[in-house]
């Protein structure tokens, strides 16, 4: 039974009077009604607020709802979200001002008591010709180790693809581990890379045993590019999201299309990773699976609704697995919530107060996180936070919080390489070179010698050949991404 937390959506307590509910609704409408606010997040949020108001504004339907909610125990929260601002005071100015907000989401459950969530995973393995040799060898070894580590109640399936896809192991409980491993051993590399059919079969296998108490996930392992069916793959991923299936991509070597794999993972809030040497396949795969198993909630999504005076500039998930979010999709899928690492999102707002703004607190937006808490019964939980700043002509000096500065410093490195690639796409190699040089300087400053050298040599390459090397582009992207600090204590 799905039951949304209407009180949370409206932002009132369950004890609120009818008058309170009406006033709160009116307030929300002034900020997020499509007539005053055209941001995608605002319309997504207002749809939900409207639904909640329809139910709660009538005493009869509110009483019905209260009874149902009480039965399902919606009153004990499992998710905690806090917000760290770069500053709380703005001067009244006509020009836009930057405000950063760091959202941190944690589990309120006692970590010691949480057992690993059961998995329903499918490994989709690329067995095209280029996987021949050590790559295939290491992928097999990694798959073997993975199967060894699965619990008996986990569900696993394996699909391989080259010119077409083949279901090696149909979805089943991980009981016959020896049999499964011998099937994986028969994999031979030959043929082209037809990712679509592999992905389709993989999703189909997970769907066969789809269970909302499980972590339903497809892990795609590839070393190549897929031709002509990228769009179809992305559509497939979007469908998978609707069904509650996540997708992660692991790219091996230098030839695969990192942007495509990123986009694919982004559709479902999953992640993508770069594996430069075949030897590290195993540790990557394990890490990915472990982070899936420590999930305390699944299928999370975030609505970011800026107030009418505010522009949502960007939003980036920094932990787990950094990912820049497509803010035109609202709610934005963020995948599973890890019990140990949690979730962190950095949002940049441009706030225009106007020089005639009245002193006092003003809203700059609202963030709503929705997730399904894994447990006995399916429970959709929603946490909302109103984001506000204070306008003051003589703001007190404030130091930005150190955790925010730390994240932003690291994030700027990732963004520099991203902008260099953007500039290069636009044919502006001078700008791309400059960005790479800045990146090198910042990397050396923070003691990242190896990455700094990579940035420097790519800057030179771009200056001379107007091209980035595949290897260097990936090294910089995933290297700067890896610098981002995890939210909580790292356990490995």
């Amino acid at each position: 039974m799905e039951l949304a937390d209407y009180y949370g959506i409206l932002g009132v307590l369950p004890s609120a009077s009818n008058e309170d509910i009406r006033l709160t609704y009116r307030q929300a409408a002034r900020l997020f009604h499509p007539d005053v606010n055209r941001a995608p997040g605002a319309s997504a949020l207002f749809r939900d607020i409207n639904t909640a108001y329809e139910v709660l504004s009538s005493p009869a339907s509110r009483a019905d709802y209260d009874r149902l909610a009480c039965d399902l125990g919606l009153d004990t929260p499992n998710i905690h979200m806090d917000v760290v601002y770069s500053r709380r005071h703005l001067k009244p100015l006509d020009e836009p001002q930057m405000v950063y907000a760091l959202l941190r989401v944690r589990s309120l459950q006692d970590i010691g008591l949480v057992t690993d969530a059961p998995l329903n995973i499918c490994l989709v393995i690329d067995r095209s010709t280029s996987m021949q040799g050590s790559r295939m060898h290491h992928v097999k070894a990694a798959a073997h180790r993975l199967i060894d580590e699965l619990h008996e109640d986990d569900i696993v399936s394996v699909v391989s693809f080259s010119d077409n896809a083949e279901v090696l192991i149909p979805a089943q409980c991980a009981e016959d581990q020896r049999g499964m491993k011998s099937v994986i051993s028969t994999l031979r590399a030959a043929g082209a890379t037809a990712m679509y059919s592999g992905l389709q079969d993989g999703i189909a296998q997970v769907r066969r045993r789809l269970n909302t108490n499980y972590v339903n996930h497809v892990v795609l392992i590839t070393d190549g590019r897929t031709y002509g069916d990228e769009k179809a793959c992305l559509n497939l991923a979007a469908e998978a999201r609707e069904q509650g299936i996540g997708i992660s991509g692991l790219g091996i070597g230098d030839d695969w299309n990192d942007r495509f794999l990123d986009n694919l993972a982004k559709q479902t809030g999953g992640s993508s990773a770069y594996i430069s040497t075949p030897q590290s396949v195993s540790s990557f795969l394990q890490k990915r699976i472990r982070s899936l198993a420590t999930a305390f909630a699944e299928r999370s999504s975030l609505i970011i609704a800026p107030a009418p005076n505010t522009n949502l500039e960007s939003a980036i998930r920094t932990a787990p697995d950094p990912m820049s979010m497509d803010t035109s999709i609202q709610p934005c899928p963020l995948g599973s919530l890890d019990g140990q690492v949690g979730l962190a999102v950095v949002i940049q707002f441009h706030v225009t107060t106007g020089s005639d703004a009245v002193n006092g607190e003003i809203p700059i937006g609202r963030v709503d996180l929705t997730a399904e808490v894994l447990g006995q019964s399916r429970r959709i939980e929603r946490v909302a936070r109103m984001l506000t700043v204070e306008i003051s002509p003589t703001p007190p000096p404030e130091d930005p919080p150190i955790e925010l500065l730390d994240v932003l410093g690291k994030l700027s490195l990732y963004q520099l390489q991203d902008r260099a690639r953007e500039a290069l796409d636009g044919g502006d190699y001078v700008e791309a070179t400059r960005k790479l040089e800045y990146l090198a300087t910042r990397l050396f400053e923070s003691g990242e010698q190896q990455l700094g050298n990579a940035a420097l040599s790519e800057a030179q390459r771009v200056a001379h050949t107007h091209l980035l090397s595949e290897e260097g582009a990936k090294e910089l992207k995933y290297g700067t991404r890896a610098l981002l600090p995890p939210l909580g204590d790292k356990d490995d």
Partner: protein
């Protein structure tokens, strides 16, 4: 507006990181100018802490590490070293021609700046260049000589170099 001390990009009020060059605007605005070092062998060579010497004697030579150039340049300066980029049409040939170091793309003027020998010192003067001359990130007012120290970063437009005394 917040001007980045490194690349002079104008950032929005409240920005904590320069969107152009990634410099943290918070710490660097607090304690004026950061000590920056060239990200190559030069930084190991100099191994300086704080300010280098300003003394530049008769026998001293200048070593210039231009960013991304493979070899440093050694210059034995006369009373003045004109820095800029060659222009065949007007016949301007500066003493130090930066054409081969990407001067055009990086916004170096034909007559950009000059290094001048004083009494045991060396100074740099901006000659009304289009994109400015900077010592350690600080822009020089045109035609006003400024003292150069060993290890300083000099930037002409977007062309960065470090100067050392030998």
């Amino acid at each position: 507006m917040i001007e980045c001390p490194y690349c002079h990009h104008n950032n929005m009020e409240g920005a904590l990181v320069c969107v152009e060059c990634g410099l943290s605007l918070w710490g660097n605005l607090q304690d004026e100018l950061p000590t920056r070092e060239l990200p190559d062998e030069a930084s190991e060579l100099s191994a300086k802490s704080g300010w280098g010497t300003a003394t530049f004697l008769e026998r001293n030579q200048i070593i210039l590490h231009i960013r991304d150039a493979s070899e440093p340049l050694t210059i034995a300066p006369g009373t003045e070293v004109l820095i800029g980029r060659r222009d065949t049409s007007s016949g301007i040939v500066p003493d130090l021609d930066l054409t081969n170091y990407g001067a055009l793309e990086k916004g170096v003027s034909r007559v950009h700046a000059a290094l001048r020998r004083g009494d045991d010192v060396l100074s740099l003067v901006d000659l009304d260049s289009a994109n400015g001359t900077f010592i350690n990130g600080q822009r020089l007012a045109s035609n006003q000589p400024r003292l150069v120290r060993d290890g300083d970063e000099i930037r002409l437009g977007k062309l960065v170099m470090h100067i050392y005394f030998k």
